[in-house]
């Protein structure tokens, strides 16, 4: 049986005024079912474009070469209408800024229901609503039955990201891509969201791709890590090996930029124990 996600020689090219620019250049990796992968790099390293390429959400000015397969199905060879059916169903994604990623005009419940109903033909609103409430409960939003009718602006930043995760999980996808899911959040909330992602992965068996500029964040979760720079993968290794024995100078530089990694993790752990999850936003 093939791996869940196979990315092979992926190249993403942007047409610009100064000629074509490769923002991702020959990237390859595989991800097994239920596994977790971290992609680390500075902004502009091509990590976000990689995730959009997998989802088939590249902007129209970008073109793609190489192969992306999900569960044996070659996404890069499928027509857009087929990819769309997988998107949001088998693979889901959450983004950096949970406020602007939610539509301010609709209740969060409606937005979760919409994600579910898009892939389940013949589901009634009532059934979808039940799924939405369950999904919100699963991400520990207290009083979900009532909160489901609230609008995004009525939620705090961390709660909005929980809503995004609930939305992504409503269809029980095989793959969840989280693109800088904690960057826009307060430090304490960051730890809660990372914990939640861990928990979700454990409970649902969803494979996770976590994208971050922050090695500390990736080290929390990822089993394997890809370090990207200028569109190239400079180092790919299991997380443990990467942290104990970074081979590429750039990786070492990144590690040095996060001083006292262990302390920080320790600190974050400490915050975990003060569990305010599910509290009022």
């Amino acid at each position: 049986m093939s791996a869940l996600l196979e990315v092979e020689d992926l190249t993403v090219t942007f047409r610009t005024a100064h000629g074509p620019v490769d923002v991702v250049d020959g990237l390859s990796f595989t991800l097994e079912r239920g596994a977790s992968l971290g992609i680390v790099g500075e902004s502009g390293s091509g990590k976000s474009m990689t995730s959009l390429a997998v989802m088939g959400l590249l902007p129209p000015t970008a073109s793609l070469r190489g192969r992306v397969s999900l569960d044996g199905a070659e996404l890069t060879a499928l027509p857009e209408s087929k990819v769309r059916r997988l998107r949001g169903d088998r693979m889901a994604m959450i983004f950096q800024d949970p406020l602007s990623s939610l539509n301010p005009y609709y209740s969060v419940g409606m937005q979760i229901e919409e994600a579910y109903r898009a892939h389940r033909a013949g589901v009634t609103r009532r059934q979808a609503r039940k799924v939405a409430v369950e999904a919100m409960e699963r991400v520990h939003i207290a009083d979900a039955a009532r909160r489901v009718d609230h609008y995004p602006h009525q939620f705090s930043g961390g709660m909005r990201q929980r809503v995004m995760i609930a939305m992504a999980l409503s269809t029980e996808p095989d793959l969840l891509i989280a693109d800088e899911p904690t960057t826009a959040l307060d430090v304490t909330v960051q730890a809660q969201i990372l914990d939640l992602l861990q928990e979700v992965r454990r409970e649902t068996g969803t494979a996770l791709v976590l994208i971050s500029h922050d090695l500390a964040v990736v080290s929390e979760i990822a089993e394997d890590v890809v370090v990207m720079r200028h569109g190239l993968a400079v180092e790919q290794a299991p997380a443990e090996r990467l942290f104990s024995d970074p081979r590429h100078p750039y990786t070492r530089a990144l590690l040095d930029a996060v001083p006292r990694i262990d302390d920080e993790i320790g600190e974050l752990r400490a915050i975990d124990s003060i569990d305010v999850v599910g509290g009022k936003a």
């Binding site: 997988l86 998107r87 983004f95 990623s101 301010p104 937005q111 919409e114 898009a118 892939h119």
Partner: protein, 332 residues
């Protein structure tokens, strides 16, 4: 929500009051003596005094202003005894020129202005909003370039210039259309249409151009929003992404603008009515200005202000139903 409405309505009453006060004060301070004007040629000082007393012009400002206000709400009586004239609420006074009640003049002319406004609004909503959406979808194509170029020209050409050009070409040179006259619909629907079509087009073209630019810009901005990307990431059908997630946020400001523009036009399209000689409220306003007929100018200003302010409040109310952020204050 209720509190919001009460606040808005109170604000509306306040603004209206200030409009009345400002307008009245300015006319009180600046205009030449209306008594002399009414008196006409065969005038004697006694006659002028008589008129002054009848109209209450000899009383101090605040008394006159209160008189005017109470005329608006409970009506008023000019003169005494056999000469007394009753003016029922809402009393806007009488024209110095014709002696006709201002309110009656309004009633006679409102139909033309409303016909003009409604017809133009239908046209410009269709051309402007649909054109703007289509241009945004087809950004960069020949259609986008043509529509955007036309809109640029449309916002730049003064509508009276366009009116003269069209009238010269379509009426004088080609003879396809009659010189516009306000033919009642009931009298001859065909003529009614032919007479109004040019004013509609001219009025609509200016607005359509503004709406095209606004709609196109808003749709393009919205398509860049992160929540549209989220909607696509959910795997929604493109039709749904477009309708639910792009159009509604993009068109909300257009709705706001439309309410105010339309309310403003009901108070008379001064320039278009003047150019085409259509006898609506706007023409009445410009005529009364030329003839310095103050009660009519006052009346038009007040009614126009009233319409715009009511339009504003309606827009606000509609807005609360469209945008939950206004309806429900931040943080539950």
């Amino acid at each position: 929500m209720v509190r919001f409405l009460v606040t808005r309505l109170a604000g509306m009453v306040g603004v209206l009051f200030l409009v009345v006060l400002f307008t009245y004060a300015i006319f009180f301070a600046l205009s030449p003596d209306p008594a002399v004007q009414i008196c006409g040629k065969n005038c004697t000082p006694e006659l002028i005094d008589q008129i002054r007393t009848n109209l209450g012009l000899d009383r101090p400002f605040y008394e006159q202003f209160l008189g005017f206000l109470s005329g608006l709400f409970v009506g008023t009586t000019y003169g005494t005894g056999a000469n007394a004239i009753d003016c029922a609420a809402p009393c806007l006074g009488y024209s110095f020129q014709t002696g006709q009640p201002v309110l009656e003049m309004f009633e006679q002319r409102f139909g033309v202005s409303a016909t003009l406004a409604v017809g133009a609004a239908v046209l410009w909503l269709f051309m402007g909003v649909a054109g703007g959406m289509l241009a945004a979808i087809k950004k960069g194509t020949w259609f986008d370039r043509a529509a955007t170029g036309a809109a640029l020209g449309g916002v730049s050409i003064p509508n009276y210039v366009l009116a003269l050009v069209l009238q010269y070409v379509l009426v004088v040179k080609l003879g396809w259309l009659p010189f516009p006259q306000a033919v009642p619909f009931g009298a001859d629907p065909g003529q009614w249409f032919l007479n109004f079509v040019m004013p509609w087009l001219v009025l609509a073209f200016t607005y359509a151009s503004m709406y095209q630019r606004l709609t196109r810009a808003n749709v393009l901005d919205t398509l860049d929003e992160n929540f549209v990307r989220t909607a696509r990431a959910k795997g929604l059908a493109p039709r749904l992404v477009w309708r639910r997630h792009a159009l509604r946020p993009a068109l909300t400001p257009v709705v706001t603008l439309f309410g105010m523009d339309f309310a403003g036009l009901l108070g008379g399209a001064i320039i278009i009515e003047t150019v085409f000689g259509l006898n609506g409220v706007g023409k009445m306003a410009s005529d009364s200005i030329t003839k310095n007929d103050q009660p009519v100018i006052m009346g038009v200003t007040l009614v126009a202000a009233f319409l715009v302010i009511v339009g504003n409040v309606i827009v606000d109310i509609v807005y609360t139903t469209i945008d939950p952020r206004v309806r429900i204050g931040a943080r539950a």
